[in-house]
Symmetry: C2
Subunit: 486 residues, 2 copies
């Protein structure tokens, strides 16, 4: 397996180092494409890609007929949060108090769901799927309605293998197991590798249903400090691996949930090698990887020489969540995973796999994804702009290159849990930062979903801004009027 | 919850006791419907149902214009097999040698699949399903393609609750959790109740993928001697419960896999009460319950006063296996099961649930099942007749009142494992008895599926018969010619 896209990463790293060192300052003009191409011995297209990426990360800006210039740098702190060393011991999991309430509220569907981790239903290709379902059932009923045991539909696995090429994955259909969504893939990976009492390391913050799944499996966790810029602290990870018996690592390296960062290629490579040397498998969640606004970042799996990376993904974020078609690249654990998959529920629905395979094969997927990516980028920008407009000054917002979330830090220690409770009363549901750790962290953070953008959502953001302002002015006991929306 | 059908069970038990005691002998005439109705203070229809059932079990036969007469009694031994008492200790599971080979052969699809546990694809209502899939996707795309977390589709749960009335289950939609098939329901039940190292008791023989699932979950098992006539030995169960810490019992009381028996109502009630007194939950697999040739037998769940019976089922055997719509009635474990279901794979495919709900609601299901039951009864009879015709004399075959299997005992200690190996060479796959226990039992038994019946299947049965004859004549090392079929 090779990493096709490391070259432009090298270019963009170079520029970023120059900016970080102060060699390039706000307003400075970057070397031209030709200069940079000659200097770094890469093609002009490579430099273009690198600059495009830097532009997208808001490090630089393009001025037509003039060139590229350094912008004011991103607002959110790039350093790893300081961490209490005792929190680097394996911890048994108890869920934060807000967790149960959050799940219950989710069920009663508040009006504005800024906590939902999928794109707007308007984007789901329902018409095509409808036809494909009909035709599969009518013309291939035996295939559509029989048991189809692991690894699942050959045709679909062929399509996924082909699709893998776009992110540098050189895989065969035999490397793939179809699952009932990404969550099931992660569950199977954990069941295969870990036993109750084992320790798993992961990024912090990390999305809450993973924490709950690990709790269910009676696993311990160590949360590793993670930068919203480039991901986990490898130094801390090394320290933890030196001092504890770790059974697996879990990571979302591309368009991370919740922080939105993409781990740079050099770091992915280092991470895979570090874990491989210690014999620690990496469970990689790549579910957001295809929601890229620029080039498709490669998964860690491309650097996996030993079959120790178990990549988990699905079409839930790209086609539709209810399609329930996910997959795993289980590496050397293929036999165990196939067997376990068969034992827990025998088979996924074959017709759903046939529909997904046809959507990929007949070209619908690529065209659909072009539209989805554009739209999601527009929505993230609108959401960010709106937060920066309505929230108190000093609010920090991440700038993801893809995915479905922004991660927000409130200024002046404003309490996001309190904001959450007031928001729910107003019919607005978002994910407060507290949910994303077992360590009583992220009380000033929240995650907002950019999957839907419309006037109602904008009004909700404005209302959250007003709630923040009131909290800041000490009027925290004010009666919160129900938000007038729609 | 009440057991509507206990009355005719009382009548049929009475008759069977008279037969067993020798008070009624082969050729004797039974009391008339009216006499019996007066004597037992039940309606004539109740007696009719009881006699119908006894007729179906081949205990009696109806002679037009004359009455009911006692037949020659069923061939298969009704006594519990003698058991080595040390085999009633909790046992760690290691799979018999034939297991892996059996699964591998299954994947390479031999020509005649007498091991397959579903009805013939010709019976799947593909046209209707096709239309329902299309319309759900087209007219309710948001519902069809969103996440639908546990307990799953309200509409479907309403239909299942209504359906439950036909077998005496008085349940509400809130008592139901939708799962990805019955196997997932069983998996969730075991994960909820048991921890690694715990002991589960069950009928013996028991279907092999359950054994494999328990092995995966690191559970120990105790196999309880079971009669092909009326199920588990309650005396042995009581002995085991007195002497070991048992965490759960697993049972298939209706049209058992593989033996085909239906546990009588009095025994179901006793079993539920016995387990309830000891605080041992019962995981009940009722997946074959609707494939009844006569009245629908009630599940043990109807006798569950404490919420300690977890009923697992699905539409895999009635509508189509690939629909992947199953369910559980988790009793008092509802919260845990719902949570675990959400954690392992978030959601089943909602569109499949919508399609199943519509198939039940618009009346298709009942009509479909009438046809399926009739056909399956014809097929079981054809299969039995064929086995009795082609297999060596002395072969014993069960006579199920429903379901998909016959369980066969070969005469003179003929080795079913050897028959299995020779059959596979001839392109015929069935399930040898060895698979159905961890105790090196049932070497002279096999399970045949009655899901499909046609000329090719009949030729296969004839070929199995010839193989038996050759084995009996000591020509076991003969080269087996590939069966010419089709």
């Amino acid at each position: 397996m090779r990493a096709k896209i490391t070259r432009y990463e090298q270019v963009s790293r170079r520029i970023r180092h120059l900016i970080e060192n102060g060699a390039l300052k706000e307003g400075d003009r970057l070397p031209s494409l030709r200069q940079m191409s000659e200097e770094m011995q890469v093609s002009i297209n490579t430099v273009k890609e690198a600059y495009w990426r830097l532009e997208n990360q808001y490090h630089i800006t393009a001025v037509p007929q003039s060139g590229y210039y350094v912008r004011k740098q991103p607002q959110l702190s790039q350093a790893h949060a300081p961490v209490d060393p005792t929190q680097l011991d394996p911890q048994e999991i108890s869920l934060c108090q807000i967790f149960g309430a959050f799940q219950d509220v989710g069920k009663s569907t508040p009006e504005i769901r800024l906590a939902v981790a999928h794109m707007d239903p308007d984007f789901w290709p329902a018409k095509k799927l409808s036809r494909y379902f009909q035709e599969a059932a009518l013309y291939q009923p035996e295939e559509a309605f029989t048991y189809l045991i692991a690894p699942g539909s050959r045709e679909l696995r062929e399509q996924i293998a082909q699709q893998g090429l776009s992110c540098g994955l050189d895989i065969s259909p035999d490397d793939i197991v179809i699952t009932n969504g990404c969550q099931e893939a992660i569950f199977l990976a954990l069941m295969t590798i870990c036993e109750p009492g084992d320790t798993v390391v992961m990024e912090s913050p990390i999305y809450f249903s993973l924490i709950d799944l690990l709790r269910q499996l009676k696993l311990k966790i160590i949360e590793i400090p993670t930068s919203d810029d480039d991901g986990i602290s490898l130094e801390t990870l090394r320290f933890v691996l030196d001092n504890h018996t770790v059974k697996a690592m879990f990571s979302i390296p591309n368009f991370n949930n919740p922080m939105g960062f993409t781990m740079p290629s050099w770091k992915k490579k280092k991470l895979v090698n570090l874990l491989a040397r210690r014999g620690v498998p990496l469970i990689e969640d790549d579910i957001y990887g295809d929601l890229c606004f620029g080039p498709r970042p490669e998964p860690c799996k491309v650097y996996d020489a030993k079959g120790e990376v178990l990549l988990c993904s699905s079409f839930s974020k790209t086609i539709a969540p209810g399609l329930r078609v996910g997959w795993m690249l289980p590496g050397k654990y293929a036999d165990q995973v196939n067997r376990l998959k068969t034992l827990i529920n025998i088979s996924n629905s074959p017709i759903n796999q046939m529909v997904a395979a046809r959507f990929l094969k007949e070209g619908g997927y690529r065209k659909h994804m072009r539209r989805v990516r554009q739209q999601l980028q527009v929505q993230v920008e609108a959401l960010r702009a709106s937060v920066l407009k309505y929230f108190p000054s000093g609010t920090k917002v991440t700038r993801p290159d893809g995915g479905l979330f922004v991660w927000i830090e409130l200024p002046d220690g404003l309490d996001a849990d309190l904001l959450y409770r007031k928001a729910v009363q107003a019919g607005i549901l978002f994910a407060p930062g507290t949910l994303f750790s077992i360590h009583n962290r992220y009380h000033h953070h929240l995650r907002l979903s950019s999957g839907t953008w419309n006037e109602r959502v904008e009004k909700a953001i404005a209302h959250l801004g007003r709630l923040c302002a009131r909290m800041r002015n000490g009027r925290t006991d004010d009666r919160v009027s129900r938000l007038a929306v729609g």
